[in-house]
Subunit: 446 residues, 2 copies
């Protein structure tokens, strides 16, 4: 393993013997010379072999050279192999200005000759063969961007003494609503439910005196919808902090977090994103614009779009409209929509005693909601009233109310969908494209 050289290291390496490992992207099998484009996780390089074809006259030939030529001729795209050979810098080689003359070629695992998908296959077909689809440079980049984005967020939090938690996803009752809940038969004829969010348990950390916490983990929604933004399992980015004055403290943390994380992506992958996705990563300025929901609705209406929803919330087109307005007016891709009515918010959102509206926000990015954030109601008597107002069964929530009976600090937080952020950051059309293995109502494999 120690001898392997990554393709990205070849250009800065001197001419001479070298060993590379990767898979076959293309083979050009010409009569006198064979070219193989080999790709690894860092790039692609041209391998070259002067072909030795069987002499029709039956003259004496190098058996090894004949065998190598045949091996390359018959080699399928996707075959994984290790090649040792002679590295040579040559300006005429378009691919990185280097090539390797093959001395030895060892196949690790040969691919079947027919590749079931092509780069332009439909999304569903590509998802059937996701492991092949992910070999594309664009797709590989998506997950390197994901890695950088997450690490930058975790580093931001850890530098500020946040504690990382892993809350359980098997629960005795619903975490958000009784709809869209996956049930799991459990021991002793009990039923467990898959967590729809870490909401209750990240609040528990506040009563536990943890102060500031974060979690990046999977959550589950038995959501039958087929939109480009919904999945039955997705990675949720969550944070919760104590001793806030309002949801504004949460928003201020989140915008700084996103600025830092997107800056890290721009620094590390900006050029490659430009090349492969054709867009510039815009690092957002802070503070992000804030618009109260009522005002946002007026702006959208003034733009000529009549919001069909009657509950006072924005619909997806309304979200696109208000984001377009913000981009035109403030040159900003993000906007916090604030001051939601309690009717369209979770029971645990704290309400402003003056306005009666919740101390909460949605965060839109390029026209799509990526977050709900709020100050939580930590006064258990108020919390119980609000739960009853929503028609929730206090008995099912007894364990949650307990979290606040033995003291609790004022606190708040947000949950953010990782795939949505990635989709929007990279200008993709669906979270399916940026999820390692998407799960939806009709998609459970591979």
């Amino acid at each position: 393993m120690s001898e392997r050289v990554l393709v990205s290291q070849l250009q800065s390496r001197e001419d001479g013997p070298v060993s590379v490992s990767g898979w076959v992207e293309t083979v050009r099998d010409q009569k006198k010379v064979q070219f193989v484009i080999l790709r690894d996780e860092t790039g692609a390089v041209q391998l070259v072999n002067p072909a030795t074809r069987p002499d029709p006259e039956g003259g004496e030939q190098d058996a090894g050279a004949l065998a190598l030529t045949t091996l390359i001729s018959e080699m399928s795209t996707g075959t994984f192999l290790t090649v040792t050979g002679d590295l040579k810098h040559d300006e005429r080689v378009k691919l990185g200005g280097v090539e390797i003359k093959i001395a030895n070629l060892e196949v690790a695992a040969a691919a079947l000759p027919e590749t079931p998908i092509a780069a332009d296959s439909g999304l569903d077909k590509r998802m059937d063969w996701r492991f092949l689809d992910l070999r594309q440079r664009r797709n590989n980049l998506i997950f390197r961007v994901q890695t950088t984005l997450e690490h930058a967020m975790r580093s931001y939090w850890i530098e500020r003494d946040y504690i990382e938690i892993h809350s359980p996803k098997l629960m005795a009752s619903a975490s958000e609503s009784n709809a869209e809940l996956f049930e799991v038969p459990y021991f002793e004829d009990k039923t467990a439910y898959l967590a729809q969010s870490p909401q209750f348990f990240k609040q528990m950390a506040q009563s536990a005196g943890f102060g500031k916490i974060f979690e990046i983990g999977d959550v589950y929604r038995a959501d039958p919808s087929f939109t480009s933004r919904h999945a039955t399992e997705f990675t949720s980015i969550d944070a919760e902090i104590s001793w806030i004055d309002s949801h504004e403290d949460v928003a201020a943390m989140q915008e700084e977090l996103l600025r830092t994380a997107i800056q890290a992506v721009a620094d590390k992958h900006g050029a490659e994103i430009k090349e492969l996705f054709g867009l510039d990563v815009v690092v957002p300025a802070v503070p992000f614009p804030r618009i109260p929901l009522a005002e946002a609705r007026e702006i959208v209406t003034a733009r000529g779009y009549e919001i069909p929803r009657t509950d006072g919330d924005l619909d997806p087109e309304g979200e696109r409209q208000i984001s377009a307005h913000v981009l035109e007016t403030y040159g900003h891709e993000f906007v916090f929509i604030t001051d939601y009515h309690p009717e369209i918010r979770a029971f645990y959102h704290m309400r402003d005693p003056e306005t009666g509206l919740t101390k909460s926000y949605d965060l839109l990015y390029k026209g799509v909601e990526i977050t709900t954030g709020a100050q939580r109601e930590h006064r258990v008597d108020v919390l119980e009233v609000q739960a009853r107002e929503k028609g929730l069964d206090p008995e099912h929530l007894a364990f949650y109310f307990d979290f606040f009976r033995y003291g609790a600090p004022p606190h708040g937080g947000f949950g953010m969908g990782l795939a949505r952020v990635l989709m929007l950051l990279l200008g993709e059309s669906s979270i399916r494209e940026v999820t390692y293995l998407f799960r939806g109502p009709t998609r459970l494999a591979p």
Copy 2:
């Protein structure tokens, strides 16, 4: 929020007005003076109030002072509050050499007067009231250690260009064995299964050309056992790397990873761990000792312990014995046990053609298994034979075999239980103590 001062910052702060927030750990309500110990996520500080008691003679008194005294007298342990007052350095104060004279006290949420658990309550009782249990300094430290450990591991990987993945936990078939599998009724009368490990999907990343990947995420085992080391849901630390020569390359990565992560814990929390857990964090030297299983069995037998298992593997006492031997002989807390027979290993472990044994290891830490690592079989024809040998249904594994039909690199990796590492690192007796909210056959709440 900006005005809040953390308790840990008080000592280095000049005397004068200050505001702190936290919860009441104790109240000493003396006739002439009241003391409150307030704790926040960073430490504890003494608050002091000269008591103003009602004048039995009915003389004129400061109503505010009277009210404050009464408030403190009636205050329950656990109540969360914000206090502003006058910080004063005073060597005579044992707790940090500072105290705050209360000027204003604002209760955020009062605690019920009877705290249901004490620090010395039984484990099960403490788990019922985990949010109170976690207020203990030791327990808070556990999760700060967890945070540091994980971040050090992720940083190690990211500095080496690993990609972080989030593999789905809803699967169409078992990931490890058909036993201990949670079933989830899914859409269209389908059944999903909760992933027992990310095994298949982290291998998929190898066929996808990702090169090196890691994942820290929850996995599920419908395991009816009640040992100190088992849970129905736990956080698994997984890595998988391409182009290895053998499992030795995986072991070399894992030992370096652990050395780095434990070093980070020792640096950041060593003194506090010593204080609260009474032990020294030992940063392991690399390489860790390696002992083939057959030799390990001989050593254990020579120590006078007869292993009852007949399948050739070590049992828990055998693991403790060989670890004791390694500690005595090499002064090392870790040991890789290698060369397991295929009968006691998963079908996907690669076998050494010379010995017939698997190219795999278990890693023991202080006498407990924390990891299985292996080179995987990437040649699909061999893999299918090995699966059939184990009596597995090739049809259920068809999607997995596909990962290797279109080319695959030699690869391997490991899975490691986060809670086991934490338990052993801190000398705790059960993973229940180091899991945020434990899940077991009879434990699904809170």
